[in-house]
Amino acid sequence: MSGALIERTSGYHRPVWLTISYYAVLAWFTVAMLFPIGWLVLAAFKTNAEILSASSYFPIDWNLEGFEDALTEVGLLGYLLNSFIVSVGASVLVVVAASMAAYPVARFRFRGRDTITILLSLGLVIPLTALIVPETLIIRAIGLHDTRIGLILLYASIFLPISFLLLRAFFLSLPVSIEEAAIMDGANYWQILIRIVAPLSGPGISTVAIMIFVFTWNEFLFATLILSSEERRTAQVAIRFFQSQFDFNLPGMFAAITIVMLVPIFVFIILQERVVRGLTAGAVKG
């Protein structure tokens, strides 16, 4: 952060009308972005009749029945657990595979090194929605349809290019001297990677893992295509069936959506700087 932006305005007094205009834009934008989500979260605390009458924005009594229904009636906890298993599995797999590929590309000269970087950068812009037919059929062909492993493998591949490029940039920023010393001492490739580089790479690796966790937690299309049975559904896939499952229990449905939204929001609020840094690095370098 270059920081000294406040100094940019020293010796200059912002006219009042400009300050007001600034805040007017920000206020409008805040309302436009947060009103729809805020409305839904508030509605989760209302009764069905209250929502349907569209009489007030805030609930008359804050009742938690919607949240009770969400947690007990439709198996939401099971879906959240499924999401968690898939997201953790995919994040771990992608971080391991991407680190193992990004490290040698960042550090050593070998035939095909630049080709790999170019190919994976191109992988970043493949429009995934265009690939639904082959992806689904490949997963079926290798016998992984309707399995978590199948979805984890697919996610790890989809998010491999971005993870690879971020980790490559991270490894390039690490000082090379410790590794050189280790090579002098006769350490082999795997010893360097596992004992020296991995422990030093905590910040980079965890940033990527957190990002991929959020991305996979939120993914809908491929989860819908791969997981057909009810007991393996992830939370995002479950949303598709909420309208029929909750029938006309609107508070229940809105409460379920609120709970599904909360997980990545918590991750984000706790780890904000890291997520933002990862996203901006990805965009600027990608």
């Binding site: 920000l26 839904l40 040698p104 050593f108 000269r109 591949s157 600027v284």
Partner: protein, 289 residues
């Protein structure tokens, strides 16, 4: 020293390359090739450009193309400039700028599918938040079934793209933070106000990152699916059918060759957009020093 590592290095690359080849390269060439085939559950038959001709001749596909084009135009011409405006304002570090930054970014962290239900609630004809607001400010006659009327459905959905502005805003703010202060100091000495500084200093220096955000928003709009599938499903009467929604429909009807031909349109439009925007914004060229 490096020679002895060669085998280990190739072994180390293997898992990533295997995943990449199986789930990205192979599918990509599959859609390229099979877009020239009639491909159903029963088997494959080469039919040349028939899939493409049928698409261009159909009623649904041109609407999908048109709707996607409108969506992209709005994202590029409205949403990215809005992101620039907000980023420039927040970079002035007004009181509370960090809170605004977090608030504006939050919707980007929520899943598209959850947001889709938010839109259903917001636009609902009977109890929706938008109609409620209109009633409260005395505009009852504006009330309508936003997502399910032919005239408003597409624009109602495009409006929801506002939720992505936060991501572009964050990226642009990161770029503004790298502009050296000295450039501004000279302008302040010359008596230039903030608006002048932003127009003559900040904006020109943001050329690259604005282009990057436009590429991001075009590629994201091309593949956007959840918010349409879970709300209108492409209706009413194809009013909100986009290319990605059309791909899914063809897939569901087991017209796999056709689905892949639509997919190829997404690929080609994406590549074209990236090349055009890179050229227009001269991305990759250095701008100072």
């Amino acid at each position: 020293m490096q020679k002895s590592f060669r085998f280990a290095i190739y072994l180390s690359l293997l898992p990533a390359l295997a995943l990449f080849a199986t789930f990205l390269v192979f599918p990509f060439f599959t859609i390229l090739v099979t877009s020239f085939f009639e491909w159903r559950a029963s088997g494959l038959r080469f039919i040349g450009v028939e899939n493409y001709l049928e698409l261009w001749d159909s009623r649904a596909f041109p609407s999908a193309l048109r709707n996607t084009a409108i969506w992209i135009a709005a994202a590029v011409l409205l949403h990215v400039p809005l992101a620039v405006l907000v980023a420039v304002i927040l970079s002035r570090r007004l009181k509370g700028w960090k809170i605004f930054r977090t608030l504006f970014f939050l919707p980007n962290i929520v899943s598209y599918s959850a947001l889709a239900i938010v839109f259903l609630g917001f636009y609902n004809a009977r109890y929706g938040a938008l109609n409620q607001v209109l009633a409260d400010i005395g505009l009852e006659h504006w009330q309508r079934d936003w997502l399910f009327s032919y005239d408003t459905a597409l624009y109602a959905l495009i409006f929801t793209w506002l939720f992505h502005v936060g991501l572009y805003m964050i990226i642009i703010m990161a770029e503004i933070a790298t502009i050296p202060d000295e450039i501004y100091e000279a302008a302040v000495m010359d008596g230039a106000g903030e608006i002048k500084q932003d127009l003559h200093i900040t904006l020109p220096l943001l050329r690259n990152v604005i282009g990057t955000c436009m590429i991001l928003t075009v590629t994201q709009s091309l593949i956007y699916f959840e918010g349409i599938f879970l709300t209108t499903g492409g209706g009413p009467a194809n009013a909100t059918l986009t290319l990605s929604m059309a791909t899914y429909r063809a897939f569901e009807n087991f017209h796999w060759g056709e689905a892949n031909a639509i997919g190829m349109h997404i690929v080609i439009l994406g590549v074209a957009a990236i090349l055009i925007i890179r050229r227009l914004f001269r991305i990759g060229e250095r701008y100072f020093d």
